[in-house]
């Protein structure tokens, strides 16, 4: 019976399908057009994704024509699903204190690498000196900085050997 109900609504599925294809093309175009701010691309592309999702849910999944039970079933799960990321945001997404992830420290090393890559070969000597100075600074701090390096490097092959 429920089934016959749906067939009564004549949805032009082909039109929905064409709309979905246009949306997909749009998101690819948004990716190819380089906006000054990458955030604009992300927002546009996600807006397109929401539009596509609504098309699929309303017409392909018939939610537009279903009874009110759809709210009873989907509202609690949706609220719970949104709750989890929101609960994580203050802890991980927006750290109040200085982030403790090791990558926060590694980023400086990576940035200096990218900087030295960006410069021409003639300048490479210069960056080399900067890195050397940073190294000396380190060993001044801890007294036997060089030995520290040795230990951390030796650990890796030993693990591998097992």
């Amino acid at each position: 019976m429920a089934h016959d109900d749906h067939s009564a609504h004549h949805v032009n599925y082909l039109a929905v399908f064409v709309a979905l294809c246009v949306f997909t093309a749009l998101s690819v175009i948004f990716d190819l057009v380089s906006f000054s701010n990458h955030a604009i691309t992300i927002v546009l592309v996600l807006a397109v994704a929401v539009a596509k999702a609504l098309c699929v849910m309303m017409f392909f999944m018939h939610l537009k024509f279903e009874g009110n039970w759809k709210y009873v079933l989907l509202a609690p799960t949706t609220i719970l699903a949104i709750g989890l990321p929101l609960a994580l945001v203050p802890d991980i997404g927006v750290a109040y204190y200085t982030p403790l992830a090791p990558q926060a420290e590694w980023k400086a090393e990576m940035d200096s690498l990218h900087d030295s890559h960006g410069q021409s070969a003639g300048h490479s000597d210069h960056t080399g000196h900067v890195e050397e100075q940073a190294e000396v600074g380190h060993s001044d701090e801890s007294g036997d900085g060089a030995d520290h390096h040795e230990e951390s490097h030796e650990a890796a092959p030993a693990e591998k050997a097992e």
Binding site: H3, T41, G67, A156
Partner: protein, 438 residues
């Protein structure tokens, strides 16, 4: 049946088939399942400044992802058409469109596997990615060590050398050298031929036969030596051993042993010449492996000591220790630089002798900050989605297996698996912009 009577206002429950209700409840749990991943990804990404987005770092193929998005949308449309046909009792049309859907699911998985293959071959896998130049240097060291070990496996398998412990790697070069330089001397004919001499000849024949066997195994693995030479040596070893055995038997008799012993010595000396020739042939091949080992050892020592490859020629031994002793307080030898390791690896890869092994076994260093977190998230989310695609294929396979017997009893099944398939499409609609474009 509730179908025949109009639903009264007192009727409890939801006016849809139980199977459909069950599927929607399941989809409710699925929404929470995927939103947990997607939400965690968004949160982690916001909290990770420097997240990799360059396709050169992530090996993300936007075009492939876009094509897959299109493939899933088309398949979703086909499922709707199939369900509509089921409702109109046009079962052959329904079967046709279900088949198309199935085919598109295979296309999706095929494109997915191309993407996965690209990531795996670039070692973009969780916990495999170097995130800093230092880690990239260590990765080069470990991969090169693996190449050297694989080369040594040829010798250890043939029992030419012994690398029981990782520490034995230090002796490997000397062991291989010693093996190849083990010159086989000619056996001088002593004045008195007795049973002691016969036994000595037999022992020497056995030693050389063993040498032939080892060299044979080595040569087969290295693919270096003319096979006819080995065949000759093997034949000669067999005849020398037989002659030596005969000589030992003959020496037990009171007289007439001299001829047999002389014969055995002659065979033995023929074998010696052949074995010496074999080992001579081996020398250049082995030399390549020893040279590669020394290159890795030198690089490894520089990495362990963190001293410059170019400015500090050797990072071990008394000269190096003296140089370190001579440093004044707070001073250090020039540190190893990422560019030096990159250049050294390029040199090793372009070497005519062992360049092939190095290129096959060592990836070009490519540090990617947050690369491991990216790889975990990418494989977790696309992997779970791919599992859902496979489950959907199984759901469609059942009505398809009915063949011409597909009838209205399967209408609910097709509707429910269609709903499930739309959900799979829905997940991909969000995964594509989040993973491929954002």
């Amino acid at each position: 049946m509730s179908h025949s009577t109009p639903p009264s206002s007192l009727k409890m429950g939801i006016p849809i088939p139980n199977s459909k209700l069950g599927l929607w409840l399941f989809l409710g749990t699925e929404i929470m399942f995927f939103t947990a991943f997607i939400g965690a990804y968004i949160v982690l990404r916001i909290g990770s400044p420097g997240w990799p987005t360059d396709p050169k770092d992530t090996h993300i193929l936007v075009l492939m992802g876009g094509i897959n998005t299109f493939v899933l949308i088309v398949s979703s449309y086909f499922v709707v058409v199939a369900h509509e046909a089921m409702a109109k009792r046009d079962f052959s049309r329904a079967r046709r469109y279900l088949t198309y859907t199935m085919g598109l699911a295979f296309v999706f998985l095929g494109i997915k596997s191309i993407e996965y293959y690209g990531k795996i071959s670039h070692d973009i896998l969780p916990s495999h990615i170097a995130e800093t130049p230092t880690q990239a240097i260590n990765k080069v060291d470990r991969e090169l060590e693996q190449v050297v070990r694989q080369r040594f496996a040829v010798y250890t398998d043939a029992e030419a050398i012994d690398v029981a412990q990782p520490d034995d790697l230090a002796t490997v070069s000397a062991q291989i050298d010693a093996y190849v330089k083990a010159r086989v001397e000619r056996f001088d004919v002593p004045e008195e031929l007795d049973s002691a001499v016969a036994n000595e000849v037999l022992a020497e024949a056995k030693r050389q036969a063993a040498l032939v066997v080892t060299t044979q195994a080595l040569a087969a693995n290295l693919g270096a030596i003319d096979s006819s030479m080995i065949a000759d040596a093997a034949k000669s070893a067999a005849s020398a051993e037989t002659a030596a055995n005969d000589a030992v038997e003959a020496a037990k008799q009171p007289s007439g042993a001299d001829t047999a012993i002389n014969e055995a010595i002659e065979r033995l000396n023929e074998l010696s010449t052949l074995v010496a020739g074999l080992l001579e042939e081996m020398q250049p091949v082995v030399g390549v492996d020893v040279a590669l080992y020394r290159k890795w050892q030198n690089l490894h020592q520089h990495i362990v000591a963190n001293v410059s490859l170019e400015k500090v020629p050797v990072a071990t031994g008394p000269g190096y220790l003296a140089a370190r002793e001579a440093l004044s307080e707070g001073e250090s030898l020039p540190a190893l630089e990422y560019a030096e390791v990159k250049a050294e690896l390029a040199r090793l890869k372009s070497d005519t002798n062992y360049g092939g092994f190095v290129s096959a076994g060592v990836l070009d260093p490519h540090p990617v900050l947050y690369g491991n977190l990216f790889a975990s998230i990418y494989f977790l989310m696309t992997g779970f989605h791919a599992i859902h695609v496979i489950v959907g294929m199984l759901l469609f396979a059942r009505p398809l297996l009915q063949g011409n017997n597909l009838n209205e009893e399967w209408t609910d099944w097709v509707e429910n698996s269609g709903l499930y398939w739309h959900f799979v499409d829905l997940v991909w609609i969000f995964l594509f912009p989040l993973l491929y474009i954002a």
